[in-house]
């Protein structure tokens, strides 16, 4: 976590995006031109990412298939344990599973079958429950997105304003409080934080349900558990980026030509900081979607991590493959959004590719 933060903070040496001699009027004209020229580069990004999505799907699903095949233990026994319960699996049920699923067929035949199904967008049925994989993964994917989205929104709503305010007076009181907050929230494991939140808000006050899924109040505790740690990171990254941009020449120029503090912040500082933040939020969004198994299990949240862990435990190959493909596609999707957001915020790549 510290490495990633350092890496992102290192990126924040951004040269000014806007020419120093521009006036307020010039900026307005420039924006109009930018908007007209933005469509083609965005289309190009989308095309590249679509190609990437296809190749990632193929690579990830094939890798999953090979990894699951090479995990220790007999596949049929594992699947039978998933189907019939851990203490009712027997050699007879494992044999039935083997015959039912054709696990005796050569591995390359099974893989070819999977590819053929993939081309038809048929993800197959779960080996354990017998339900279609898409049906099995609908709840996990939507639940994960719901939880990650809520946690991100909360973390941004708290972290970014705190970072901006802290950057106004580096080493001031709020800045130091933020540093303590970052260290404290990162040092607190989500599992412990989640339990503490349940104890306070659910057991003691009785305001919020500890677990469950479906009503609006269910998402609050798990989302806050995740958002606490993230908000500190966002505050830190925002603070460093904003503080650095504030010391740059173009900000000094904007101030000396008489722009008010609010105008400097909104037009120059925040927009520059947004490029760094968008990339960083993208990375954290992926961590949130993929890496919150502990929080999911604590709050009984039926997310993608939970589904994937169960599927691996039971060697439910189609579900593992489809879940991994879903995760890979989410990575591509989030990266696409970050790219498009970057293009929207930073006009330079557009200018380079589409000279006006």
């Amino acid at each position: 976590m510290a490495d990633r933060q350092a890496a992102v903070v290192g990126v924040t040496t951004i040269p000014p995006l806007l020419d120093a001699e521009e006036t307020v009027e010039a900026t307005r004209v420039e924006r109009g031109a930018v908007r007209r020229g933005a469509a083609r580069p965005i289309l190009r990004v989308l095309a590249q990412r679509a190609l990437q999505a296809v190749s990632v799907t193929l690579l990830v699903s094939t890798a999953c298939f090979l990894i699951v095949q090479n995990l220790p233990g007999d596949l049929a026994y594992r699947i039978a344990a998933g189907r019939y319960g851990y203490d009712r699996v027997t050699a007879a049920s494992a044999d039935a599973v083997r015959a039912d699923l054709g696990l005796d067929a050569p591995v390359w035949q099974q893989l070819a079958g999977w590819w053929a199904d993939l081309v038809r967008l048929d993800f197959g049925t779960s080996l354990v429950t017998g339900a279609p994989v898409l049906h099995e993964l609908y709840v996990p994917v939507t639940s994960s997105l719901h939880l990650a989205g809520t946690a991100l929104a909360l973390a941004l709503a708290v972290g970014v304003p705190v970072g901006v305010v802290a950057a106004r007076r580096p080493n001031g009181l709020l800045d130091r409080v933020t540093t303590v907050w970052v260290a404290g929230s990162r040092a607190l494991p989500p599992f412990l934080l989640g339990l503490l939140l349940i104890l306070v808000f659910s057991v003691h006050f009785g305001w919020l349900p500890a677990v469950g899924h479906g009503t609006a109040s269910n998402v609050v505790l798990p989302a806050v558990t995740l958002a606490v740690g993230l908000s500190g990171l966002f505050a830190r990254v925002t603070r460093d980026t904003v503080a650095q941009i504030r010391t740059s020449d173009f900000v000094a120029f904007a101030e000396s030509k008489g722009l008010g503090e609010r105008a400097v912040l909104l037009r120059h500082v925040l927009r520059n900081a947004g490029v760094t933040l968008a990339a960083y939020v993208g990375v954290q969004a992926l961590v949130l979607i993929e890496g919150v198994v502990v929080v999911e299990s604590l709050f009984a949240w039926p997310g993608l991590g939970h589904a994937l862990v169960h599927a691996i435990f039971w060697r439910d190959v189609p579900v593992v493959q489809a879940a991994a493909v879903a995760l890979a596609l989410l990575v591509v999707a989030v990266n696409t959004v970050v790219d498009v957001a970057g293009l929207g915020l930073d006009p330079r790549p557009r200018r380079r590719s589409v000279p006006s």
Binding site: G85, R88, A94, T129, A210, H306
Partner: protein, 519 residues
């Protein structure tokens, strides 16, 4: 100068308003909410399949589906969907009479044909008691259900009481005979199943028996024991299953809840490969048994001293538990002496050796029952005291049957439920089959035991049966093909909101129809 402060304050207010709005919304699960007409049941089991042959029997526990035969807490069979049954003189043909006027939840009548269709599908599934019973045919004749056997089999009604034999409406099954919806005949019908975590049921208005006092029940699967304990304590669950020993001690002190316990017909066993060059000697098995300090393990790890097993059958299996048998005790010196008699003498590093071979074996277990890995390490330490080196391998449960089949298994630790079907005889016949069994004996057989079990299965009078059960228990107690370690107690936390809760020792039903809201 003030914009930043205003921005900051604005966002904080917005966030707190959003949070408060969420928390103030009438959460159906909140402690003080008025939505209290729903009984909230919480347990560790997830809902992965609607198929009766798999999973944990959710739909019989929630009283959605019925079986032809029911059973009481002691395992005595009772009428279920069948009101009566009789067996032919040669013990090979059983006839079941259905409850008149019974209807499925979709409004269709229960016909013998529908029952036969359900049982035929159940019979085709592997690893179910029904598939293992010597059934030749199930037919619908003269408005009754007839089961023909290839040989006399007294536990048949008990086998038909197993959750995999539940009777579902024809509309429950899809084209490929997979279960698409659970349409049963019980006092509750399914309103919603949200896999893997939630099942909602409501009282069925055409149920002919006593109408249940509780109209709505909602089951929620919660994976972590800590979370379940907190839900029980905070009143977010009315009935909570699956508490770990530490949480149980804390919940005992909480207000507004009560803990109920019942001993289950389940024993934690050490499976021994009796065909093994080291473990085949009965003196070695007795030495292993004597090396175990069961009382200490039960007290320290299960937090329940009474769960130390003194014999294979727990006291709750009244017909099989033997009061007179000498309890399995802890005797380290005796264990060393037994090993010495078997030719194993201590080597330089404490591990006993014979003919230059060191006594080192592996023990397989799995973490699905959280006490198993810790008990395994306690056994490892106990056996080290007498010079047996044990390597504990915690893996997937399926590695035990797999190791049984390929012969690589040496020791295995697991919990065995003797009342998978209400009559333990059905389980024992399978587990002590002379050819061995995945979850039973391995490379061990005893002609006297086999013939006694077969006599019991053929149907004998009460006095003969009692003598036969005593004989079975005595053989297993002295030969130790499976070494008993601990018995099992099931606990549930019950909120003060409900009265009339009892735990079914056979775990067949949650008996929700007997519950009522307290005044």
């Amino acid at each position: 100068m003030t914009w930043a402060r205003r921005l900051f304050a604005g966002v904080l207010i917005a966030a707190s308003v959003a949070l408060t709005a969420c928390s103030a919304s009438p959460g159906a699960d909140g402690r003080n909410s008025g939505a209290s007409t729903t009984l909230r049941v919480v347990g560790p089991f997830e809902v992965h399949s609607l198929d009766p042959s798999t999973g944990d029997g959710f739909f019989t526990r929630l009283q959605v589906a019925e079986t032809l035969v029911d059973a009481d807490g002691q395992g005595a069979v009772q009428p279920g969907l069948a009101t009566s049954w009789k067996v032919s003189a040669d013990q090979r043909e059983w006839t079941f009479t259905l409850r008149p006027g019974a209807v499925f939840h979709d409004g269709t009548n229960v016909t013998p044909e529908a029952v036969v269709a359900s049982l035929e599908i159940a019979r085709g599934k592997p690893a179910t008691p029904l598939a293992d019973a010597p059934i030749e045919a199930v037919t619908a004749t003269d408005g009754r259900v007839r089961v023909q056997l290839s040989k006399p089999y007294a536990p048949l009604p008990a086998v038909l009481a197993h959750t995999s034999a539940q009777v579902l409406a024809p509309a429950s099954y899809g084209k490929d005979k997979t279960v698409q919806a659970v349409i049963g005949t019980g006092p509750y019908k399914v309103e919603r199943v949200k896999q893997p975590a939630e099942i909602d049921v409501v009282a069925f208005d055409r149920w002919a028996g006593t109408a249940p006092a509780i109209q709505r029940v909602s089951y929620q699967a919660v994976g972590r024991a800590e979370t379940r304990a907190l839900m029980a304590e905070s009143g977010q669950a009315d009935v909570t299953f699956g508490l770990d020993p530490v949480s149980r001690q804390r919940v005992e002190r909480a207000d507004g809840v009560e803990i109920r316990s019942v001993t289950l017909p389940r024993t934690i066993l050490l499976k021994v490969n009796a065909g093994h060059d080291k473990l085949g000697d009965v003196r070695v098995r007795r030495a292993i048994s004597a090396a175990l300090d069961r009382k200490a393990m039960a007290t320290a790890l299960l937090r329940d001293e009474e769960m130390a097993a003194t014999q294979l059958f727990p006291p709750s299996l009244e017909q099989w538990h033997q009061k007179s048998v000498a309890p399995l005790g802890h005797d380290v010196e005796g264990a060393r002496e037994l090993l010495r008699q078997a030719g194993w003498v201590p080597g330089p590093d404490g591990v006993v050796t014979k003919d230059g071979k060191r006594f080192e074996v592996s023990l397989r277990t799995f973490p699905d029952r959280p006490e198993l890995p810790v008990l395994a390490t306690a056994i490892q330490e106990a056996l080290k005291q007498v010079g047996i080196g044990v390597k504990v391998k915690v893996g997937n449960s399926s590695e035990i049957p797999a190791g049984h089949q390929d012969g690589t298994l040496e020791l295995a630790l697991f919990a065995r439920n003797f009342a998978l079907v209400p009559d333990p005889l059905a389980t024992l016949i399978g587990d002590y089959d002379p050819r061995g069994a995945d979850w039973g004996a391995m490379d061990w057989n005893n002609a006297e035991l086999t013939s006694t079990l077969n006599d019991l299965a053929g149907g004998v009078d009460t006095a003969t049966a009692t003598a036969a059960r005593t004989k079975v228990a005595a053989i297993l107690h002295s030969e130790l093909p499976l070494i008993p370690v601990a018995w099992y107690r099931q606990s549930a936390v019950v909120s003060d909101r409900v009265d009339g809760f009892t735990l079914d020792p056979l775990e067949r039903s949650w008996l929700i129809d007997k519950l009522r809201w307290s005044a």
